[in-house]
Amino acid sequence: MTRRPRLPKPEDFTAPSHSALVAARLGLWLGVAFALCFATGLLSHHIQHPPGWFTWPTRPVNLYRITQGVHVLSGIAAIPLLLAKLWSVYPRLFARPPLRQPVRLAGHGLRRISILLLVCAAFFELVTGVFNVAQSYPWRFFFPQAHYAVAWLAVGALLLHVAEKLPITRAALSERLGAKAPSEPIGGPDRSAAGPVRDDDTAASGRRAFLRTSAGAAGIAVLATAGVTVPWLRRVSPLAWRAAVGPQGVPVNRTALAAGIVVPADFQLEITWPGGRRGVYLADLAALPQRTAELPIACVEGWSASAYWTGIPILDLLGHAGAPTGRPVRVSSLETGGLYSTSVLPANHASDPLTLLALRINGEVLSPDHGYPCRLLAPGRPGVLQTKWVARLEVLA
């Protein structure tokens, strides 16, 4: 039997993976992954660019480590789930537009546009996300801004998609996977007539198999990368983009060389506040009462590593200098320019006794790459805000 090659129709796809029962379940899982990703991403964005109403707690000290770990791992899990979902609904791509009915045609067009937007945005977020964690930038746009903007597009398009599909999805989710006659097959209402005769048990087990494979692939993807933030998986994950290695046992994102750091021989930490100023020599800093705390460096890229940091609590240091406390503090680096050369400690972080101006890491003097002569280490904040090579503390009004 020979047939002329033609563009396939939805009815040509007869595999059980294209059932609406499968698509609805994958959609639900993917929705959960995207919701987790969006919520944790929004948190991370707000911690770095806090609006007036936003406060981020200082406890538990691992909070950001967890939220950002969830962010990258739910994104990783979404990769196989998105591909499985797209495969499940692939036949719909070939649905012919109702050309003779203008009203239905308009609806069809709007749906197609919103789906295209959703797929564009979903791919964009996942692809740029995995490239960013590997710090590989084969593009010219500014990643944090673009990733944030497209996250809104993705979530908006997802809500539009849910609004449109809600009745079908609800019906499909309430039906058992082994249902004899799926409520509405993806291929169109008359698929069973067009497709080859297939016994129901085979179709049901085929649906289950496809869902199991998709969930399994998501699990393997998470297992293969979770070592970046889950300590006992470090040696298991072959594709962890970071490990707890680096100078003095902790990875480094930006080296002293890359930041162009030169520490003057007569280095003085400058502490300023409205109406006052004081310089403190490094030797005097080391002579102040020190505190050691186990705090994580938790990066926006999802990797994290804990270390024992020793230094002076910022609260004590300000008190020692005679500066007011209980206010936000701007921390500036010896690094001039650069995106992360300054950060603002909100008042609750500046007043926390665990917020340290660290001089030592794991018992050793900070190496240049870890921020010698001194660096900020505040509980529960992203690594990019833990300013290194600190030169100045500025108590804000």
Binding site: C120, S136, V150, L153, L159, P167, I220
Partner: protein
Amino acid sequence: MRTVRLLLLLLGASAVAYGGWLLYPQIDTTLPWLVGGPLLHDALVAPLVALAGLTLSRLVTDPVRRYWITAGLVATGTLLLIAVPLTWRPASAPPNPGLQDRDYPLELTTALAFLWIVIMIILILIHVLSRRPAGRSADDRG
């Protein structure tokens, strides 16, 4: 349900509008990366997957065996996709101690080898288990 759908529609449209407004300043550099995903998927990846599925269904007719081979292929594809940025990084990036600290091609090969050994073992087990009852019944009769 109608109210919920309407609400979702409104929320969704506002989020899309806000995202579009945020993205607008970078639209020229991001557009190829936005459109690239679906284009590559729909025109290249999905047809290739379809072809692979058709070929596999001709080669392996037993559904249980095909299930495990498919699972292996899907997991392999997923791991390969995640590995792309780790193995392909522009050399111009600044040095970064502790980043990409391992030999990724080697680790990936080892993981894939492990995966396929597990799948092989499962396939052999299925083969052995599916033969045993038949063999035993033959013995009983004899």
